[in-house]
């Protein structure tokens, strides 16, 4: 078991260190963004959160807005998982894995945004169940960390199992995958509703204190997540040999119930399809950041209006975190696609090793 895990790991390393000029250029671009983010974060840790424009009046800002948006993106993987595994909808089944990869990257970004927003990231261990002093069942935020980490773990286990079995050219174990996939559906719903409840339960903020918030979160998440996926599908279709059928893309677009996607002709035309995705993506991004977090805090509880705009540090850190997320997604796809396509497995790894040994 240990040696086969090691081989799986070595095979994955081999896959991610292999790529064309475009691949390395993309990785360097992400690397530069991450360095910028690190630079911003170093400034922030040096002086404290005063480096941001958040103040007592608007105590949550750009970071929490991004966090909320990305929770939605992560939850959206479920939209692909439901038809693929429950209804056995074939064209979507092969791309459901990509949805799960996106979910993993989005959750990683979520956790990093929360970490960036914390005043004392050195006390992160306090949130770990049993080790720290997690305030369950009272605190909704404590529940939110629980469901987010469960969802991350769940997707990680499913994806790793599928790829591990694929690497050794075996069929995946249905007894493991199917229950986990079924469990990941309520888990995906829960990460978004519980995040909504964090805002929802605050009687002090009338703007958030309404029961429509959780359904609204779900509705917008089911648009923003697939919007990103549709664009990624089209890129991956070009960049890799991974085959994604038009039907799968159209089906996902159909599920989103966006006006441009309700008409079959505009749903199927690449230009209007991408335009729709772009509109949805920017719309939900604005709705979550500028439209949800800031208005909830402005005016503050004592009627003061503090005009909040993120500082350079906040933008830098956010750019860095997005770069980390894209890096995670890129590396996961780089490993997943050849394995799922059956282009790379244990036998290929052995063959390559032998060839290298002979060359020496």
């Amino acid at each position: 078991m240990a040696s086969s895990l090691l081989q799986f790991f070595l095979g994955s390393v081999r896959l991610v260190t292999r790529g064309g000029r475009g691949y390395w250029a993309w990785l360097s671009f992400l690397g530069i963004l991450m360095l910028i983010g690190l630079h911003g974060y170093r400034q922030q840790t040096a002086v404290g959160l005063i480096a941001t424009n958040m103040r007592d009046q608007v105590s949550w800002g750009f970071y929490i807005g991004n966090f909320t948006f990305l929770v939605g993106v992560a939850a959206a993987a479920v939209l692909l998982v439901i038809p693929a595994y429950v209804y056995q909808w074939k064209p979507i089944k092969e791309v459901a894995l990509l949805g799960e990869l996106l979910a993993i990257s989005a959750i990683v970004m979520c956790l990093l945004f929360v970490l960036a927003d914390m005043g004392r990231p050195d006390r992160l261990w306090e949130i770990i169940p049993f080790i720290g002093s997690l305030n369950v069942p009272r605190s909704i935020l404590a529940w939110d960390t629980l469901v987010l980490n469960t969802y991350l773990l769940l997707n990680f286990v499913i994806v790793t199992h599928l790829l591990y079995k694929g690497f050794f050219r075996e069929e995946y174990k249905k007894t493991i995958v199917v229950p986990l996939v079924l469990f990941s559906i309520p888990a995906a719903i829960s990460i978004h509703t519980v995040t909504a409840f964090v805002y929802n339960g605050l009687v002090a903020r009338p703007f958030w204190n309404a029961s429509i918030l959780a359904p609204r979160f779900i509705a917008s998440a089911f648009c923003s997540g697939p919007a990103i996926l549709l664009v990624l599908f089209q890129i991956l279709r070009r960049a890799t040999r991974f085959h994604i059928s038009d039907e799968a893309i159209w089906k996902v677009a159909e599920l989103m119930a966006f006006l441009l996607f309700l008409v079959p002709s505009t749903r199927k035309h690449p230009f209007t399809l991408n335009l729709g995705c772009l509109l949805i993506y920017s719309g939900v991004y604005i709705e979550k950041g500028m439209g949800l977090v800031i208005p909830g805090m402005t005016p503050d509880t004592l009627g003061e209006i503090y005009e909040y705009t993120p500082t350079r540090v906040e933008v830098e850190v956010a750019a860095g975190i997005f770069a980390v997320g894209f890096l995670v997604f890129t590396l996961l796809v780089k490993v997943a696609v050849p394995i799922v396509m059956g282009e790379f497995g244990i036998d290929d790894l052995r063959r390559e090793r032998q060839a290298e040994a002979r060359a020496h």
């Binding site: 959160l49 949550w60 005043g119 306090e126 009687v203 509880t301």
Partner: protein, 178 residues
């Protein structure tokens, strides 16, 4: 606040600072931690870093607060404040008699609030704000004691609870002395 509008935060000026007081048609309404009997802030804390003491004072453990600022979003009175930068108080201004849950120096990145001067009231003294108020506008005492000054005020004056509709059940009341 304008007398014309009454207690309405939307018509108030949080930074009202005239050269002379009182000004005709205006009044002051200080807001601080209400030490609610049903505090919304302590419920949302993910790490049990803030709680209500048996005597009712809502306190924070600065050594456990992770700085998520959820309690600030939950407080309807804007009573919680975050140490956005490194707080620096001159050594000469430091009170050497400190309380773990009260006036000890706070680190950067944690939330702090009014503690009803826990280090004073537990020693039988008034909170500093009550002691220092030049017009005696603040009263502090034991509501359970029928002979206390605070009971006199509660029974004979017009008493008002800020944001009463939120069911926070504060231990902090406003009264009209006239």
């Amino acid at each position: 606040m304008d007398k014309e509008h009454g207690v309405d935060v939307m018509h108030s000026d949080p930074y009202y600072n005239p050269d002379a007081v009182p000004r005709e048609g205006h009044f002051y309404m200080p807001v601080q931690c209400h030490h609610c009997r049903n505090p919304p802030c302590t419920k949302v804390c993910p790490v049990k870093a803030t709680w209500q003491e048996p005597d009712g004072i809502v306190v924070i453990d600065y050594d456990r607060c992770v700085g998520c600022r959820c309690c600030m979003a939950a407080c309807p009175y804007g009573a919680r404040h975050f140490n956005w930068g490194e707080p620096h108080l001159p050594v000469a201004d430091l009170n050497p008699e400190t309380h773990y849950l009260g006036n000890r120096p706070r680190p950067k990145g944690v939330v702090e609030k009014c503690t009803f001067c826990i280090q004073r009231v537990r020693a039988g003294r008034y909170p500093a704000c009550v002691e220092v108020c030049p017009v005696g506008a603040r009263k502090f005492g034991n509501l359970l004691d029928p002979n206390s000054e605070i009971r006199y005020v509660m029974e004979r004056k017009r008493v008002f609870i800020f944001k009463e509709e939120l069911n926070t059940q504060p231990r902090f009341y406003y009264f009209y002395a006239t």
